[in-house]
């Protein structure tokens, strides 16, 4: 394997097109284990971390810009970011150990295209946009358009994500991400649920965004669960409707970490809890880091 570390997007695009054997990487936390497990070695490793824009996390007037290769630890350490996006920050804080979070990135988490990637449901409910570098410049697409199935993305050969744009939430909004894992730490989601709730002046739900992960080939928004909340108060009845819709939206696999029936049921439970936490945040109530307890009390 050869290695290059371009310092501009143009040079990275050029390096990638120089050989079909090329492969971009950010933290390499998925790439190196994949190579060790017998996947073919790339001929040319293109390290994106020397491109300043790829590792910067910046707050603009109306949106945050998160470099696709920025270590996820930046998202948990920055109080400005975690106050505005507690759910996305907590999701980033669930990706492996401190050692991993100092290397793992939102770009890698998305483009590795694991259905269980923790940051993806949290990005989906914040309607994050991906700025994609191409041979001709850049194009911007919704985060939901990147992963197309386990290990597969819509990116053409030679394309890579430069950064994510995430609009600041409107007033009276809150987000949350919960995942189910048998162990507290260092595990892969059996179910993940991201939620963003915006409340109106009466405390009813003005807007709901709900996304599930690890229960379908890609993370997905659940329109029926969102529709169950809009214009409604958040109470036992509407939460039960959310849980039913979230469970019904699942198309999971049976594997050693969870059966289909279990994943469906847990999705409903986590959806209820995540809505409750996001709504409390939207109402300005203090909530501790919910992700470490699966939202259970």
């Amino acid at each position: 394997m050869d290695y290059v570390a371009p310092t501009t997007i143009e040079d990275a695009v050029g390096a990638l097109s120089s050989t079909p054997e090329s492969r971009v990487f950010a933290g390499a936390t998925d790439l190196i284990p994949q190579i060790r497990s017998g996947r073919p070695e790339p001929g040319l490793l293109v390290d994106l971390k020397r491109i300043e824009r790829l590792t910067a996390v910046t707050e603009g007037a109306n949106a945050w810009t998160i470099g696709a290769a920025a270590p996820t630890s930046l998202l948990t350490e920055d109080p400005g970011f975690s106050n505005q996006f507690p759910g996305l920050s907590e999701a980033a804080g669930l990706i492996g150990s401190d050692q991993i979070q100092n290397r793992s990135s939102l770009g890698g988490n998305l483009c590795n295209a694991s259905p269980a990637a923790d940051s993806v449901p949290a990005m989906l409910v914040n309607e994050a946009r991906a700025v994609v570098a191409t041979a001709g410049g850049t194009r911007t697409v919704g985060v939901g358009e990147i992963a197309t199935g386990p290990g597969r993305t819509s990116l053409a050969p030679g394309e890579f994500i430069v950064e994510f744009e995430v609009d600041k939430p409107p007033a009276h909004s809150g987000d949350a991400y919960l995942r189910m894992t048998p162990r507290t730490e260092m595990d892969i989601a059996v179910v993940g649920v991201g939620v963003r709730i915006t409340l109106d002046a009466d405390g009813n739900c003005a807007e709901a965004r709900i996304a599930v992960g690890a229960v379908a080939p890609t993370a997905r928004r659940v329109a029926d669960a969102e529709a169950a909340l809009v214009g409604q108060p958040i109470n036992d009845d509407t939460l039960a409707a959310v849980a039913r819709a979230a469970s019904a939206a699942c198309d999971p696999i049976d594997d050693k970490r969870g059966t289909i029936a279990y994943r469906k049921q847990v999705t409903g439970v986590l959806a209820k809890r995540a809505v409750t936490i996001a709504a409390a945040r939207a109402a300005g109530e203090d909530t501790e880091n919910a992700a470490t307890t699966n939202g259970a009390h």
Binding site: M1, D2, Y3, A5, G27, A28, T29, I32, P33, R36, E41, L45, D47, K49, P71, S73, G96, S97, D98, Q99, I100, N102, R103, T184, E185, M186, T292
Partner: protein, 165 residues
């Protein structure tokens, strides 16, 4: 596989070495630089035995390609003590018998150092979370957690009295 010339700072010293461009920093540190304190456990980022600090952040050396170290500052277990004087973490691990076979110990110490560098007053829960990426297969974690808490307390006391830790 081509070889790359790498310049970086390791344990305070300007260091340059030749390494396989697709090889890991772990292998480079052990085989090319001769720092055998960096251990290989799983090789996939799960066990933390190869933990080193790169630009003050704890990372698994097995998940870093060697050429990524160019221009970076690396600290390994060999850089933890101040000459003959052990780091308080090392001293507390020794006094608290917080190790058995010792393979995981360098990684635990580097992860614990990264924690105390940014949080001098961690709770037990914070210590447990900060060390979640380090596995010990000999024994439990209680002595390790206690040793880190003891070291943190000692370092705070030293800092208050102005005594160099």
């Amino acid at each position: 596989m081509s070889r790359t010339h790498i310049n970086c700072t390791i344990n305070g010293d300007q260091t340059d070495f030749l390494s396989e461009s697709g090889g890991s920093l772990l292998n480079a540190l052990r085989d090319d630089v001769g720092l055998m304190g960096v251990k290989e456990g799983c090789g996939t980022g799960d066990c933390g035995a190869c933990s080193v600090l790169m630009d003050d952040r704890v990372t698994c050396a097995c998940l870093i390609f060697a050429p990524e170290a160019e221009g970076r500052t690396i600290v390994t277990i060999e850089g933890l003590a101040n000459a003959d004087e052990l780091h308080p973490l090392q001293q507390c691990f020794l006094e608290g018998a917080a190790l058995q076979c010792g393979i995981c110990t360098p990684g635990f110490l580097m992860a614990a150092k990264a924690l105390l560098d940014k949080n001098p007053h961690p709770t037990e829960t914070e210590v447990r979370y900060a060390l979640a990426g380090n596995l010990c297969r000999c024994t439990g974690y209680d002595k390790i957690i206690r040793a880190v808490l003891d070291a943190a307390e000692g370092m705070r006391a030293s800092a208050q009295t102005g005594d160099a830790a």
